[in-house]
């Protein structure tokens, strides 16, 4: 239509919905919950327009289950919720990880625990996103800090989920979800889309959990002539339940390797002035906005402050942080929780180097609070 990109005033939740459609998502199942409801509302309207389908399920457990079922049918699928619903989804997120079914789960974080303050932002689900389901499993968690980035990372979540056959969690929050910003959306043709790779082997040779060279064996949708079994039980290469240690070891190796070997692809972050810095600020999500402001204020005062904004929270960018922190005395980690990602930073940087700036009362962390953190810590050493 028009060659000039148009700037649109858009809400974060809306950008998430549009990002999903741009990524090829054609199925959404969800349950109303503040502050994620707008994602469902937009997709209820938008999905049928593009031939996709929307369903409001009876609860969040059913929502994630329907999403996995649709994905098994070969359709890119997503659900969106907030803390209470995210807690309910955990068992089936583990199923998707175990059965290696691609899907995207959006958690627009609100203040907890429990019902908490539904219309207030928080970052209290960082550890739940990593460890919320039982058992060890790899997981990919992305966190945007603007409306435009919500669009991008939603697309990226679908790319990763298909590329690595894994659930991917998009962790936003009430402010990012409800905030409106002017955005220029990319040309649909320029958006990266990853579709299921398919297989060239005949049906009788197909093994959905084969110990494949890339560690990600192709997943053929149900209904296309490759009849196979999917289960949450430990399974062999064909997907049949097994208690053989040989089968389990083979599978575990591939299961953890498929994400572990691809960190250079998966770890997304922005860094600014890290090499020259004496103090490093590490932030993510909505707090990255306050942190960016605080870094600029500190620089105006003559402090050498670097900024690392993490877009991929899990797997944790431990080598990046370790490398950056090695020469530094101070790492400031502001978070809207009691210190969750700070635990990881402390693990790789050393506890004595890390200064936490935390708020978990449902209010935004102000740049001045982070600036105080930067300066107090510097004076104290």
């Amino acid at each position: 239509m028009t060659a000039n990109p148009t700037s649109i005033l858009m809400q974060g939740d809306e950008a998430c919905a549009e990002g999903a459609i741009a990524a090829g998502c054609r199925f959404f199942a969800g349950y109303p919950i503040t502050p994620a409801t707008e994602i469902a509302e937009v997709l209820a309207r938008r999905l049928p327009q593009v031939g996709g389908k929307f369903i409001q399920m009876e609860d969040e457990i059913g929502s994630i289950a329907a999403v996995i079922g649709a994905s098994v049918g070969g359709v890119k699928a997503m659900t969106a919720t907030s803390g209470p619903g995210f807690s309910l989804m955990q068992e089936n997120i583990g199923y998707a990880a175990m059965a290696e079914i691609p899907c995207v789960i959006v958690d627009v974080q609100r203040m907890g625990p429990s019902t908490g303050r539904p219309t207030s932002p928080a970052q209290g689900d960082v550890m739940q996103a990593r460890w919320g389901t039982h058992g060890d499993h790899p997981v990919i968690v992305l966190s945007p800090s603007s409306v435009r980035e919500t669009f991008n990372l939603t697309v990226q979540a679908f790319v990763f989920s298909e590329r690595y056959r894994t659930p991917v969690i998009l962790l936003t929050d009430e402010v990012i979800g409800h905030m409106r910003e002017h955005v220029v959306l990319p040309d649909p043709q320029s958006i990266e889309r990853v579709d299921r790779s398919g297989t060239t082997v005949p049906p009788e040779w197909y093994k959905p959990y084969e110990n494949f060279p890339t560690d990600v064996p192709p997943l053929v949708p149900f209904g296309e002539g490759y009849r196979y079994h999917i289960t949450g039980l430990h399974h062999d290469e064909r997907g049949y339940p097994t208690s053989s240690l040989d089968d389990i070891h083979l599978w575990q190796g591939r299961f953890f390797r498929k994400v572990g070997r691809s960190l250079s692809d998966i770890l997304l972050y922005d860094e600014d002035g890290v090499k020259e810095a004496e103090t490093l600020v590490i932030a993510y999500g909505v707090v990255a906005r306050s942190a960016r402001h605080a870094v600029e204020m500190a620089r105006e005062r003559g402090h050498k402050v670097g900024f690392l904004k993490l877009k991929t929270l899990w797997p944790f960018a431990e080598e990046v942080v370790e490398h950056a922190a090695a020469r530094l005395h101070h790492v400031v980690v502001p978070e809207m929780n009691r210190g969750q990602l700070a635990l990881e930073v402390e693990r790789v940087a050393g506890r004595h180097k890390v200064y936490r700036v935390n708020r978990s009362d449902g209010e935004m962390i102000q740049p001045s609070e982070i600036l105080t953190g930067i300066e107090e810590w510097r004076q104290g050493t």
């Binding site: 327009q49 593009v50 009876e58 289950a65 079922g69 070969g74 289960t231 949450g232």
Partner: protein, 297 residues
């Protein structure tokens, strides 16, 4: 009659030869009979195996799909219908059969059960009702009779049993039938009707568990319990002429509901048409649809 010989060949064409047998069920269990009925129903309808999905939850019945050469998925406890809902929406042309036990379908999965029925989505739900949690050792379930002992009801069950077929009918299913693992031919016929039915269909297959709750209550061997199913069952037609007192404790079998109501994925196709007519398929930030009459949905 050479039916048994013929039938063993039918099963051979549907069981997975790559899967290690024997199956996990106890000798004398009714679940295998239900699986046999499903296989013969699918065979009788001459369905393409590629178009059939068999989805289950957790428990003894949950282990059924792995043995059969369909598209099979063993999901989480209680959630089979919700998984199947997503699959059916992604692949409306597939015949999606969901097998569940009574605990799976009605306790942990009770909410999904009534909502799948309310939506009338085209799934065939086969509930194997053995009135207990067999795999975990005979705890009381939503269908355990009052007074029966169970591993978690050592002084007798005090909770009312839930009538599966009546619940499905009240919740809006298009087809509801009850049979038993004794009435094999009838069961097979009902399963076939359920598969053919466009909307949400439920077949309750009354079974038993002689190794857990049966043993605890000294209900006898598998043949004893099979005999019980035979003796205590009455047809729906007969039951209609009996008083409540006469029917108490009896297994009423027959087709409870068979009605033509619009199926969910078919209705959703209309939603897609309406959405595309109103805003055009490429309308990125099109305004909310106006003039949609909610009553017409």
């Amino acid at each position: 009659m050479n039916a048994p010989k013929h039938e063993s060949r039918v099963h051979e064409r549907y069981l997975r030869h790559s899967k290690r047998f024997p199956n996990i069920w106890c000798a004398g269990c009714g679940i295998g009979i239900v699986l046999g009925a499903i296989i013969r129903a699918v065979d009788g309808l001459q369905l393409d195996k590629n178009d059939v999905a068999l989805i289950s939850g957790i428990g003894c019945t949950g282990r059924m799909p792995v043995y059969v050469d369909f598209n099979t998925m063993h999901t989480t406890h209680g959630r089979a219908l919700a998984f199947a809902t997503g699959l059916k929406m992604a692949r409306p042309e597939m015949k999606v059969i969901v097998v569940m036990g009574d605990g799976d379908a009605l306790a942990i999965g009770g909410n999904h059960f009534i909502h799948a029925a309310r939506r009338n989505i085209g799934l065939s739900a086969i509930v194997v009702n053995n009135s207990t949690y067999g795999m975990t050792g005979g705890q009381y379930s939503p269908t355990t009779p009052i007074g029966a002992q169970a591993a978690t009801a050592p002084y007798g069950n005090i909770e009312q049993p839930l009538p599966i077929a009546e619940l499905a009918a009240a919740a809006g299913a298009a087809f509801v039938a009850r049979s038993t693992v004794y009435h094999v031919r009838e069961l097979e016929r009902y399963v076939a009707q359920a598969i053919v039915k466009e909307g949400f269909s439920v077949v309750e297959a009354v079974s038993y568990c002689h190794t857990t709750i049966g043993r605890i209550n000294r209900w006898g061997t598998a043949p004893d319990m099979m005999h019980y199913l035979k003796e205590e069952s009455i047809s729906l037609k007969r039951a209609e002429k009996m008083s409540e007192g006469e029917k108490r404790g009896k297994i009423v079998h027959g087709v409870f509901v068979d009605r033509d109501i619009p199926e969910y994925t078919k209705l959703y196709d209309e939603v897609i048409k309406r959405a595309q007519q109103q805003s055009g398929p490429d309308g990125r930030l099109s305004p909310p649809a106006e003039g949609v009459d909610g009553a017409s949905l």
